[in-house]
């Protein structure tokens, strides 16, 4: 049901609004290595957009640059019209952007409850803890466990769940399905569709375009630190060969 809702509301809302996030000529470095080389894309409010690309293409670096946690970055990242490219990461988070890292970032020194409640509220209207438990019932049973004692799937749910409380409206999710069993991937897919239906805007990094196709409105292909191609959800089926070629699968 949530699926239908998500699909029906998409095109109209998505194509008319001003971008929520606009990335222009973004460059980033790790030490001497110039990783992002003129990254550019945008996301409109309520959209789910993916960055697809091979290992090392610069997808994670793009999310980290938006979040302000790479060594050095230049260019422009506009969030709701405001320039964030020179802000510290805590300031960026306070604007309403939340990050779920590829390695999940569950804290071993904190139990599950503390992990879940750690990110501070940055805006009003975050999801209630009850709703998060409804999305991820497993978490409720493991509240007193040490964070890193959870299974990989549960850790991913915790990593997503904890940023839903914050009131952030733009979620940056880095490969949330990586290394997980098919049933868990389905559960995460359903969750993302539900989040979209609730109006969250999501920038999703994926290598698995089959999964990405089930949740996203648009897809950007990243290669060597920049966007090299762009597909609407409706174009995926007719572009499978091209995508396979880009992703090397």
């Amino acid at each position: 049901m949530a699926d239908n809702l998500a699909r029906d509301t998409r095109p109209v809302a998505a194509t008319t609004a001003a971008p929520m996030l606009e990335v222009k000529d973004l460059n980033a470095w790790y030490g001497e290595s110039h990783i992002l080389q003129g990254m550019a894309f945008d996301i409109r409010p309520g959209e789910v957009v993916t960055l697809l690309g091979r290992n090392g293409a610069g997808k994670t670096t793009t999310l980290k640059s938006i979040m302000g946690i790479v060594g050095k970055r230049t260019g422009s990242v506009l969030f709701e019209g405001a320039e964030t490219a020179s802000l510290a990461s805590n300031r960026i988070a306070r604007l309403g952007i939340a990050f779920c890292p590829e390695e999940r970032g569950i804290f071993a020194n904190l139990d599950v409850r503390e992990n879940l409640l750690l990110p501070p509220q940055v805006r009003p209207g975050g999801m209630s803890v009850e709703t998060i438990f409804e999305l991820f019932p497993n978490l409720k049973e493991r509240l007193a466990s040490q964070g890193t004692k959870l299974s990989g799937g549960e850790q991913q749910m915790l990593a997503i769940g904890r940023i839903l409380r914050t009131g952030a409206r733009l979620l940056l999710l880095d490969e949330p399905t990586e290394g997980l069993a098919p049933v868990i991937i389905q559960q995460i897919g359903a969750t993302l569709r539900r989040l979209k239906a609730e109006g969250f805007t999501i920038l999703l990094v994926e290598q698995n375009f089959r999964f990405a196709a089930t949740v996203a409105d648009r897809h950007y292909v990243v290669e060597r630190g920049k966007v090299v191609d762009h597909f609407q959800a409706s174009e995926i089926e007719t572009s499978v060969d091209k995508l396979r070629n880009y992703l090397g699968v």
Binding site: F99, P101, G105, F107, L117
Partner: protein, 295 residues
């Protein structure tokens, strides 16, 4: 039984008390070191100098401002803690990404500078600081005489240590601290001002040292070298407990004070080295310390 061992109960309990007193200071100082090391990744070698500053602030406040012991318990940690935060903002923060050795060298240098300045101003001999009148005298417990001030130091230090442990392990603020110890980048990306938290944490660790200094002033004399005499032992305590473990430093601090005291009764020749012997044994068996986790 005491007669059998040729030891008088007075001597035994007297040394036990001294052990607990020393343990109180070991615990408070190593606790601050553990908190600082955990978040800042810095081995704060000037901790002893800051402890000494705490005692001097109390002495100075009494002599020149007429401020007594009780207000000093609050004022000295604030003054020295603020001084620590200035050190952190101006110097330490440049070292976080570098190897531990740089932080150790800088803070070691700072310790020498601070102690040098105080020695220049006040000479090397101790300055007296009286026991507050409310805590003079003592209790005759039958088997020993317990001076009130010493009992207070043990209780106060235990209270401060447990309160610190509670804040770090059981509160939201402590959760931020533990999380930032593990992954400061991510905590900051959640919206927490981690640099400010680091400054305040250093200030807190330093304030603990200063508080220990005030508590120590009436027991030991106030002298520029009081910290450097103590800090070597405290570092051994930290190594035994495990770098960065909160509860570990508290338990180890008190326990080693007691071990030292008991050694004075049973084998006085070893009393000044026993902690280092324990350290060597612990390092051989558990290199990360009794309560430490591998980094």
């Amino acid at each position: 039984m005491f007669e059998l061992l040729g030891i008088s109960p007075q001597a035994l309990f007297g040394q036990l008390l001294i052990g607990l007193i020393n343990g109180s200071f070991y615990a408070m100082l190593s606790l601050g070191l553990a908190v600082i090391f955990g978040l800042l990744n810095i081995i704060n070698f000037c901790h002893g100098a800051l402890y000494m500053m705490g005692a001097f602030v109390a002495w100075f406040a009494l002599k020149h401002l007429g401020l007594g012991y009780w207000p000093s318990l609050i004022v000295a940690p604030i003054v020295v803690g603020a001084f620590g935060m200035v050190l952190e903002r101006s110097m330490l923060r440049h070292l976080y990404k570098l190897d531990h050795i740089y932080g150790l060298l800088l803070t070691f240098g700072l310790a020498l500078v601070i102690e040098g300045v105080f020695r220049n101003e006040f000479g090397a001999s101790g300055l007296p600081y009286g026991i507050p009148p409310t805590l003079s005298g003592g209790q005759n417990l039958g088997f020993m005489f317990l001076p009130n001030y010493r009992a207070w130091v043990i209780v106060a230090s235990l209270g401060v240590c447990l309160a610190t442990w509670y804040v770090i392990e059981r509160t939201k603020l402590g959760a931020y601290l533990r999380a930032a110890t593990e992954n400061p980048t991510l905590v900051q990306a959640f919206g927490i001002n981690v640099p400010r938290m680091i400054t305040l944490t250093y200030g807190l660790g330093v304030a603990l040292a200063a508080l220990a200094g005030v508590l120590a002033a009436p027991i030991y004399q106030v002298s520029p070298l009081m910290g450097s005499n103590l800090i070597i032992v405290v570092f051994a305590v930290v190594v035994i407990g495990g770098m960065g473990s909160i509860l570990g430093s508290i338990i180890t601090g008190f326990a080693l004070g007691v071990v030292e005291g008991l050694t004075k009764v049973f084998y006085p020749e070893a009393s000044s080295t026993v902690i280092f012997i324990v350290m060597a044994i612990v390092l051989l068996i558990r290199p990360t310390g009794l309560f430490g986790r591998a980094h």
